[in-house]
Subunit: 464 residues, 2 copies
Amino acid sequence: MAPESTPNHDCAFLDSVITDSRVAHAESVREQYATDASPHSGRMPDAVVWPGSTDEVAAVLAAANDRGVPVTPRSGGSGLEGNAIPSAGGIVLNTAEIEHVEVSPDDLQATVGAGVVYEDLNEQLASHGLRFAPGISSSDVATIGGMVATNASGFNAVRYGETRDHVRRLEVVTADGRVVECGSGVVKTSAGYSLKDVFVGSEGTLGVVTEVTLGLVGIPKHRRAALVTFPSRAEASRAVADAIGSALVPGAIEFIDTTALTVLNAYYDDISFEEQPTLLLELHANNSGIEEDLAFAKAICEDHGMRSWDPADEAELDDIWQARRDKYPASRAYHKEWDVALVGDVVVPISRYPEIVETVSQVSEELDLLTPCVGHAGDGNLHFTPLVDPDDEEMVERAHELNERVVRKAIDLGGSSTGEHGVGIGKRKFMTTEHGPAIELMRSIKETFDPNGILNPDKVLPDA
Amino acid sequence: MAPESTPNHDCAFLDSVITDSRVAHAESVREQYATDASPHSGRMPDAVVWPGSTDEVAAVLAAANDRGVPVTPRSGGSGLEGNAIPSAGGIVLNTAEIEHVEVSPDDLQATVGAGVVYEDLNEQLASHGLRFAPGISSSDVATIGGMVATNASGFNAVRYGETRDHVRRLEVVTADGRVVECGSGVVKTSAGYSLKDVFVGSEGTLGVVTEVTLGLVGIPKHRRAALVTFPSRAEASRAVADAIGSALVPGAIEFIDTTALTVLNAYYDDISFEEQPTLLLELHANNSGIEEDLAFAKAICEDHGMRSWDPADEAELDDIWQARRDKYPASRAYHKEWDVALVGDVVVPISRYPEIVETVSQVSEELDLLTPCVGHAGDGNLHFTPLVDPDDEEMVERAHELNERVVRKAIDLGGSSTGEHGVGIGKRKFMTTEHGPAIELMRSIKETFDPNGILNPDKVLPDA
């Protein structure tokens, strides 16, 4: 989408704050930073900087804060809710070049720059038998800084938790350019307010994360996986709720609906999935007990009338996971004149998962929308991507109505409007419904941490 | 210790705010709430209230806030750092009678009142095969509200995490009496600032927690345990660091030093432990793979010259855990004229565990103190309890010097001044060293959430 025009913030001051080669004022560069990976409308920044160090981040923020110039932090730009779109113009501060990595294998932790890409980090960790474990889709683009900003997670959160669960320490630059360390490299502490948890998930609206100390897990010695098909999406999703409710802790358990499989089959020449409601189940363990767990999981699937159980070996598994990650591009490519209107991301208590899956299906039918669904089902997390003709305003409107109805249903079921993508621009309107009076406390934190309101304006919190 | 005298806050207003039977002004009652389980000096409150509902908590806080009367929240009173001592007088607000429990077994969660005792909750959960898992020592006294306030943890945190990791949702009453809900009953969310994490570990200085929705884990089907002795504390603690560094995830791994075993042997008529540096190792699993893990753990212990490996069956294990929990009373009883001067509670990165164990031993020798040590070693957490004659001021002073030197060493090693007991009164003086400039951000949160400074004054944050 064409970037919106923007009010002009004079950013010439940046030339005396940071090395020439780390500032761009040229339109051609600014244009690249007007949007992110989301379908949200972009907006042109007035300048882009990519500091090489924490001190440079601090210098930029101090100067911008003095002048009241907005700063939108960014790194991978893979956000799906417009989290990194510079909605008020000003400066895009790209932390992508802060990319040091120091691994402390004996402490099962690593200290890394905000710009380190998730997959690159895990490649470095693999030589130590370790892994940063949330398991995100955009693994070759998303950075650790961005993951902290949105509290990202994905395939493996069901076993290993979301990004928050692994953050032991943060280095953060405040709106006025102070550098603070929050937390330390220990697995637990009760020493005062947990500032790191204030910054995790705050999407750059409270400070800019420059360095992160992460807890790691061992790469499991054994992995078993199966693709399991079911007679209906209801049975598939009930099997997930039963498995989790019985305290099985899978490495991953993904729900893929028939429409998503149709879209994937159309995307590939060389892979073909059976077009039935499917679970992709993966188990992790360090000992042979994994076979008992696998038998237990299979018995639960049988209880729900499973149609087929197709064990996947390591090579097949890589293909299957790649397909799962390709669901978004495959959805975009499915119909040459259509595109994804939005990427739904609700989460509900696991016992309500069948209901939210059913809601997406029913409302899509009612609104005459084609909506492929996948989900990190073990977390109660469901993604849905209604496909629309972007030039058909009425159709786009229907997709947003679907989102609205599904999000409100998720909140009614005791869930949340976003499981892992963050609030960004797209979920702001649900914040008051979801949080009630707590919004006022969030607002007071924002005002305290960023009194001039320069950090990622018009994100996360709804308008007052 | 005799409660200090206190300035008089007029608390007569409480009689019109809350039912008669829920307020006490009598000295005999107030005296019971002047101290907690810690060795810190007590102080008399001017009144004690024990609200039966969230609305009553809100009414008390709104009225106290209007009048600038201090309110110190409390429930179990088992804190070890003076967390619940009403340092500025005023009102002790006891949440012990808010004790409803609603279990949602299919969602692996429970919603409970702040006054529910840890062990009582786990008894109710056991019928569902579930457990709230941090595994604390004062399990028959400590309440869920208190555990949230201090971010408590214990024996089983090495596998299951600290209290924070299990808190999905909080109901909190703010200083001015607003009731807010933070979070929801889902395993993950990225919907705005994580207010629940601001309140967890804030020791009642930012708000009063009235209700908690907790994530639960399944009770493991299999448990194996062993008492393992080593030729030296250095080898015992190195074995722990190696086990954790190799990504073994035990259910518990406790270090017990020779002095602690001497103290325990003196405490019991019917139990006798070999007085050697000892690890109590426990493994949890749902399948037979546990035997492989046990063999792996044993091999690590052998690498460190283990002297004996004594498997414990379920009945023995209960006795051993009771002994471990009795370490504090046993230390207090060891010498009829002595008492525990303080309960040390440092935590370090696991690779530095041998160093911190050695530091306590060396400094104790240097200062001529008898200091039994135990620790949740798998977390890098060490407790040490120097024994002193409370009437010997110089000896008490030496115990505090030991604490000072060990805490500063822990911080130097990249650790924290408190792993699980909280800051309370005793650790305030270390906060600036531990947190640096981050203290100013903590202070700004306190000022924003509690502008009149009525909530648990003189706790957590150091004097400005």
